[in-house]
């Protein structure tokens, strides 16, 4: 059966935050908390884990400014709330916490973005994970189809084995928000690689065309920017079963960032990159070169697209020759394209021609 998690360490770490502020008062110092600067300029490659993590730059949240003081007050309320949840053995969604903050008087949040960000800040400050705080995301994880057997501890505390082709419908196995060992175990598999797909339309196309069987692939639907659980699931599957990960997205700057968050670690969650990022990931497409090579239908880049691309040129994660070349090419083309643009050549083109060619290109399969 499932063993109860020990939260005493979490409580200690939370209390350390309160103590820091309290002691500042005692020492007649302006209360403040320090945390790594969470921005593009402060992420460094970590040789040990092969992922990008926060660097040495620290940001101070000080009661000197109104914003800083609000942040400290909210942090105190949030930590108090987390302690309370641990005590009564409850958990809440991030959205629920946002609504609960309505009762926090001065400390109440104005948007859920504010409360989500502060929860992440608290992870960074304490070195704990969101799950330790008994906070979970709103969004469900994405879907999986492939020759893979998962054992999940269900809400009834029973273990249930699920085969991700035979036991699921066309929508696939739905990744729960907790994908840690106490919740799921990867039992068996028979596949050559994981294919992470950005859009639902393309996921369904590959399922309908039987790509999971014909190419021995485990298909994972990312649902846009993948949730933590999706990235963690891919990470576990890839490292535990030694499977390569191939990422298949639209061709625009936002899709490149999806890839970066899977392969290198996202800027927002760089404090836990080693949990979430899968360094053994490859970008399959659609690349700006594909736009030219496959003569794909395109749209014009918007002003936001262009500034996002330019920003990626200075993003330390995109500094290899492949990305620099592709991003510059896209800026030159001034065009973007979608995965589903491949349908220009028919519904089977993506499975019969495009993907096999791309797989061969990166040396994954026989032609």
């Amino acid at each position: 059966m499932v063993q109860k998690k020990d939260y005493s360490n979490v409580i200690n770490k939370i209390d350390l935050v309160a103590e820091k502020v309290y002691n500042d008062f005692k020492k007649s110092e302006i209360p403040s908390l320090e945390l790594p600067t969470r921005s593009k300029s402060n992420i460094k490659f970590d040789d040990k884990y092969d992922v990008w993590k926060y660097g040495k730059n620290m940001t101070e949240r000080s009661a000197k400014s109104l914003d800083g003081a609000y942040m400290l007050l909210r942090t105190m309320y949030m930590t108090d709330f987390i302690k309370e949840m641990i005590k009564v053995n409850k958990s809440s969604t991030l959205r629920e916490m946002y609504y609960i903050s309505e009762g926090w008087d001065l400390a109440k949040f104005h948007t859920q973005d504010e409360s989500n960000l502060l929860a992440e800040d608290l992870e960074v400050i304490t070195g704990c994970m969101r799950e330790d705080f008994k906070l979970r995301p709103e969004e469900d994880g994405a879907r999986v189809i492939g020759n893979l057997t998962i054992e999940e501890v269900t809400r009834n505390n029973t273990k249930k084995k699920i085969h991700c082709q035979d036991d699921v419908g066309d929508a696939g196995y739905s990744i729960p928000y907790n994908v840690e060992k106490e919740k799921i175990t990867i039992k068996s598999f028979d596949a050559d690689f994981i294919l992470a797909i950005e859009t639902g339309g393309m996921f369904d196309r590959l399922v309908e065309n039987g790509f999971d069987t014909s190419s021995r692939a485990i298909l994972v639907h990312l649902k846009g920017q993948p949730a933590r659980s999706t990235r963690r699931f891919i990470k576990r599957l890839s490292t535990e079963k030694n499977l390569p990960v191939l990422v298949f997205t639209d061709c625009d700057p936002w899709s490149f960032r999806i890839f970066a968050s899977i392969a290198y670690g996202a800027i927002k969650t760089a404090h836990i990159s080693e949990y979430l990022a899968t360094p053994a990931s490859n970008y399959l497409g659609v690349t700006p070169s594909d736009i030219e090579n496959y003569e794909l239908p395109t749209d014009t880049l918007t002003a936001e697209d262009i500034s996002a691309l330019k920003s990626e040129l200075t993003d330390p994660r995109f500094q290899d020759s492949f990305w620099k070349g592709e991003i510059k090419l896209q800026l030159k083309l001034g065009r973007k394209s979608e995965q589903q643009a491949l349908a220009k050549y028919g519904l089977d083109y993506v499975t019969d021609k495009y993907l096999p060619e791309k797989l061969a290109e990166i040396g994954m399969t026989k032609k």
Binding site: V21, Y22, F25, A63, D80, L106
Partner: protein, 644 residues
């Protein structure tokens, strides 16, 4: 062709009566079109009413009524509570052009030439054929006299058509009723604006206006104090023209040139008189009546060459900043402006004529943001409604750069655009109007300079007001932080750790790091015991009925880490009477209170209180505070004292 001789011509040559002349040139007097005719008629009547009341120390109550008859004929009734007019004078005052008491005196007054009201009567007669009806009552227990008069334009004389006596409720007063051809529909708006503007610069007058449809507007009296009486002064040599000089010499009783100059002119003492005579190459014992034109010319030139003291400015009666502010506040109530700021200049002189400029600025509220600012121009308490573009007030405003005061003004020239009203009042013994219709002040350099200086001062005050607001806003955030958020953080952490709540004083001092000065102004209604109040003209008068005490409280908190010791100044309005002050000021003058404060330890507070009487509610609604002997950047809520 028949030869026309000089004798033939002579048969056609005859005197043109003044009335006849104006009959043909009525545009000169402001009767150029039907809209103007309406406003001019009202204006002349109201000006007369206000002048006569002030002259006789009566707080004016002026009623204006317009009855709109069909076919564009308006019946205008103007009634005052002045002393009335004796029977014999009525036909002269209302029926003779160029008849009046003020033409020969050098003193600030509204009307001067004695043309105004008789011109209205004449205009009415010419356009409607109806006669003016004048009612006058000069003694409380005697009946009023009603005269119907018409003007004989050939003789410049009035004919009394009928004379009767009636009962009139008023103790004394004058009522003028004239029918004139006028465009009421078009002129309506201007009549209202004129009366409203008049009320702004005449806070001591109560003006009631009844429109043809029965609507009544009351422009309330906001001050019970009559304006300082303008003193009559003698002409100043710099302002006198050659012709006038010669005329004065012919009429003088003085037998010698030096006594003529000393008695008939202002600023002419022994020494100045002798220097001027010497400069002109004349002798002081010349009989002025026997002097030649060339001698007068030499004297006139000498006036400009020798140094003569500026004329006395006692003859002026400015409105005063407090009253301008109060009037503007009262008239802009519905606009709820963000602030009203006033400035006044000391009296100055152009060509021997004393003059003084006062200005006011109303900003924000519901004023239109996209329109040019409204400019209210006044000369001797009379609104100037026309020819804004040709007026020196307008050109002075237009040549200033208003962009940095939050107003739009392409290329920094011209009338600015934005939510503001500008007011300028020029008072003078001799307003240099551009024309006889008295609608614009001529382009006199000295006046333009003074108007600009006054508006500059006003603009500086605006800037200061804005800066203060921004600074306070910023510090208020911090205040919020230390008074609300910080204690919450301390409470919450202590609660989480089960520890006592720590003291915050030291942390608060570190966060604020300023000396914080905050003030509140409150008003208290009091049943005033008759308080002896000094009036601007030096006489005393006991304040009537209920009054208001303006209470100002100033709180000083030292949020610096070290003790702070400095001096504080609070500006007080000139018209205010300082009552209670706590603690006792180190110095008190007409316009400020000063405290040499004892050293204030960190996290400590000092309270200062003072009370002002003699002001209405709202006259003083914000303290103007200054500090000395402390780095001004340490202080929020007061500026550096720049000296008296």
């Amino acid at each position: 062709m028949t030869k026309i001789t000089a004798h033939d011509l002579a048969k056609k040559q005859k005197e043109i009566s003044v009335a006849e002349f104006f009959e043909r040139n009525k545009h000169i007097l402001g009767f150029g079109n039907l809209t103007r005719a309406l406003i001019t008629s009202v204006k002349e009547g109201v000006d007369n009413a206000l002048d006569v009341c002030e002259e006789t120390n009566i707080l004016p109550d002026v009623n204006v009524e317009i009855k709109n008859h069909e076919e564009g004929e308006c019946r205008i009734i103007i009634e005052d509570n002045g002393p009335g007019i004796i029977k014999q004078q009525i036909p002269h005052i209302f029926g003779r052009l160029l008849y009046g008491s003020r033409f020969h005196s050098v003193r600030q007054s509204r009307g001067q030439q004695g043309i105004g009201i008789s011109a209205v009567v004449l205009y009415g007669q010419l356009t409607t054929g109806k006669h003016a009806i004048i009612t006058s009552k000069i003694e409380e227990d005697r009946p009023a006299i009603v005269n119907e008069i018409s003007i004989d334009t050939n003789k410049n004389r009035a004919d009394v058509i009928s004379s009767d006596t009636v009962h009139w409720d008023k103790p004394t007063g004058t009522r003028v009723e004239v029918s004139v051809l006028a465009d009421y529909i078009r002129g309506k708006k201007y009549v209202y604006e004129y009366l409203q503007s008049t009320s702004i610069v005449n806070p001591h007058a109560q003006i009631t206006y009844k429109e043809p449809d029965g609507t009544v507007h009351v422009f309330e009296r906001t001050s019970d104090i009559l304006p300082k009486k303008a003193e009559e002064i003698k002409p100043h040599p710099h302002g006198v023209e050659l012709g006038t000089l010669i005329k004065m010499a012919k009429n003088t009783k003085a037998r010698q040139l030096n006594s003529f100059l000393k008695t008939e002119f202002s600023s002419m003492g022994d020494r100045t008189t002798n220097t001027a005579i010497e400069e002109a190459g004349l002798e002081k014992n010349f009989n002025p009546k026997d002097m030649t034109r060339d001698q007068f010319l030499a004297l006139h030139k000498a006036f400009q060459k020798v140094k003569i003291m500026a004329p006395s400015t006692d003859c002026l009666s400015p409105i005063g900043e407090t009253l301008i502010r109060r009037s503007l506040k009262n008239e802009t109530k519905e606009i709820s402006p963000e602030f009203i700021i006033t400035a006044s200049r000391p009296a100055s002189v152009y060509s021997g004529n004393p003059f003084q400029v006062e200005v006011g600025l109303v900003y924000g509220g519901n004023l239109p943001k996209e329109e040019p600012v409204r400019i209210l121009r006044f000369a001797n308490r009379v609104p100037l409604l026309y020819q804004q573009g040709g007026c020196v007030i307008t050109s002075a405003i237009s040549s200033m750069d208003w962009r940095r005061y939050g107003l739009n003004q392409p290329s920094g020239k011209g009338i600015p655009t934005g939510p503001a009203i500008f007011l300028a009042h020029v008072s003078s013994t001799q307003i240099p109007f551009t024309s006889e219709s008295k609608e614009a002040i001529a382009d006199v350099e000295e006046i333009e300079n003074e108007v600009q200086l006054a508006f500059r001062e006003c603009a500086r005050k605006v800037q200061k007001h804005i800066n203060k607001k921004v600074n306070r806003e910023k510090t208020r955030e911090k205040f919020d932080l230390i008074t609300r958020i910080l204690p919450e953080i301390a409470k919450k952490t202590s609660h989480m750790l089960n520890k006592p709540v720590p003291s915050l004083d030291a942390v608060i001092t570190k966060i604020m790091d300023v000396v914080w000065i905050e003030d509140i102004v409150e008003y208290e209604k009091v049943d005033r015991k008759p308080v002896q109040t000094k009036l601007p003209d030096g006489s005393t008068e006991s304040q009537p009925k209920q009054g208001v005490i303006t209470k100002s409280r100033i709180m000083i908190v030292n949020y610096k880490r070290n003790p702070q010791k400095f001096n504080l100044y609070a500006i007080i309005p000139k018209d205010a009477i300082v009552c209670l002050v706590e603690p006792k000021p180190s110095k008190q003058t007409d316009n400020y209170l000063k405290w040499n404060l004892d050293s204030i330890p960190p996290a400590n507070k000092v309270d200062i209180k003072f009370e002002l009487a003699g002001l209405e509610k709202g006259d003083f609604d914000e303290n103007d505070l200054y500090i000395e002997n402390i780095n001004p950047t340490y202080v929020i809520g007061a500026d550096k004292w720049e000296g008296d």
